[in-house]
Symmetry: C2
């Protein structure tokens, strides 16, 4: 019989539909056709085909020339633009605002055929360090309230270029999905006087069935109320609401998680498209989240694109997942 499960943080129900597909091969997707041919603006030597870099880690060379290892540029087609002030304008029942914000692309490697599944640990570490670096830089812009770091890998996950990259979008308002999570965490804290994510970690360690990988600083597991087959959450063991407070040691440990997880996805799921998203606290709290350092806990959610979101999910916010997380973690540990 299918089972309904409730996410302990935001109260979202999922249907774990046990009567459906079961093996990793049972899922469709655009796999195995990832590496684009033809011209690539992110490749080394094509630095003039992107907007000028705002940051890079280099072995040599001037900005916007070869010699870089990681390169950060403004998005050429930004969802939000950096100039201007934020104003909310009400027109009767409708409300709008200038699309002010930041939209950057982190080009993770100069090489067109390197990805998170075949990079060296030094290369991955550099990517995560760059996330922290750019987060700290953008945090200084007081017009912005939230900084989202995420990755779209593969066209089904929304990537328009195959060359390995991540993105940062910083918004002048705290997004709804983020507030929901913050409210959920605060409610849990006010009832039980403990962080819901710390409680989840404790529970997962005691249970063990859903753990995919673990080291001294991080745990990676398939969440109890997984929305998607092979969804994985990565949580720091040390309680902290703020991604940007990640220490060098933790960056090394997170690199180890990536070095385990992404080759596993590649091998077990045949190079699936996926998104990952760093969930962290807003940058400007304006008194709205007084206890956030106690009740929130930053983390990463990784969602492979193996099933399609259909009418039922759109209408209800209620996901149907044909792969119990207990089975998914087995495959990812094999």
């Amino acid at each position: 019989m299918p089972e309904l499960r409730k996410d302990p943080v935001i109260g979202r129900w999922v249907i774990i539909a046990t009567e459906r597909a079961k093996r990793p091969d049972d899922f469709a997707g655009d796999r195995g056709v990832r590496i684009s041919k033809g011209f690539c603006p992110f490749c080394v030597g094509n630095e003039d085909k992107t907007p000028p870099e705002v940051y890079s880690v280099r072995e040599s060379g001037e900005p916007n020339t070869p010699g870089w290892k990681v390169r950060v540029v403004p998005n050429k087609f930004p969802a939000l633009v950096s100039e201007g002030e934020t104003h909310r304008i009400k027109e009767g029942i409708y409300q709008h605002m200038n699309g002010v914000g930041r939209h950057e692309v982190i080009i993770e490697t100069p090489e067109h055929t390197k990805f998170l599944y075949n990079m060296t640990s030094d290369e991955i570490k550099l990517v995560i360090e760059t996330y922290r670096e750019r987060y700290l830089a953008l945090k200084k812009d007081k017009r912005l309230r939230y900084i989202l770091i995420f990755k779209n890998y593969g066209s089904e996950a929304g990537a328009s270029l195959s060359h390995s990259h991540s993105q940062i979008i910083a918004t002048p308002i705290v997004p709804k999905r983020v507030s929901e999570e913050l409210y959920g965490a605060r409610n849990f804290f006010s009832k039980s006087n403990s962080c819901v994510f710390c409680s989840v970690i404790e529970r997962e360690i005691n249970d063990g069935r859903r753990i995919v990988f673990r080291n001294d600083h991080f745990i990676a597991f398939t969440p109890y109320a997984s929305r998607f087959p092979f969804e994985v959450w990565i949580l720091p063991l040390r309680h902290s609401a703020f991604f940007e407070e990640i220490s060098d040691k933790e960056i090394e440990a997170l690199t180890e998680v990536f070095m385990y997880l992404f080759p596993k996805y590649y091998n077990v799921l045949n190079d699936p498209a996926y998104n990952f998203i760093i969930h962290t606290a807003p940058t400007q709290m304006s008194g709205k989240w007084p206890s956030i350092e106690f009740d929130y806990h930053w983390h990463i959610e990784v969602i492979p694109k193996l099933t399609r979101v259909a009418g039922f999910e759109w209408g209800t916010g209620f996901y149907i997942n044909p792969m119990p997380p207990e089975n998914a973690s087995e495959f990812l540990k094999e």
Copy 2:
């Protein structure tokens, strides 16, 4: 400059990204390859390849034989099963429940090549009448709280069979996305003493730019804070919280809307995949929504699948829409 817009019902922000794609042809998708070849369990003559029908509209014949015009069968791979009681079980921080509910498929036509874009008005009317019929039948099951009627059209929208069909899933809990809308509507009502959807209708009629089609009973428009290119909402002009109270006259008028909209999608957008979802009130109110008949207003949301939901949307619940709804409605009126 991109514009941020806020949905007046649930407070969701979208980015109308004016720097991006613009013409209907600029959007990718799996178009023009819809009609499957080979064996189809929904075709006339294959009635024994589905679970036995629970309802049909027939010209002739016994149940589960040819002669039907519309046929409703339980889903062969149900997300929820009809037998059993609903129990919530708490295990520490986690909560689960039996997957009890209903999952039916409405086979809209015996013909494999008929779709909403090329059916006659009598055929479409029969489909909508069947929605009402099954809604009223399932409403009698007191274990259920919410009945969702929806359609996945095209594989990108989650349809696994091409033969024209809709689905009904009835759940033992009111889904989160539905509650959000109900709360949003109630908040608006308590502030302004009017239904938010009635206010939207008034505003859209006065403005006019986003209206796609209108008759005596319905209005179809591209919403102010559209999440997706060519998203269309269909609202009954008469205030009513309950889809099942749709009158015969209104069914005729809604048929007219469908007869306009789906051929337009087919022609202007080259047969895009889409989902549509009927948003209506829960069936069992249990005192939780005392004023729902005043503050809620049933409607239909239609979302073509022309863009992909990517990391940013997953992380924020904040959509990037490259097609301003004012332009989309122009194309749909051409």
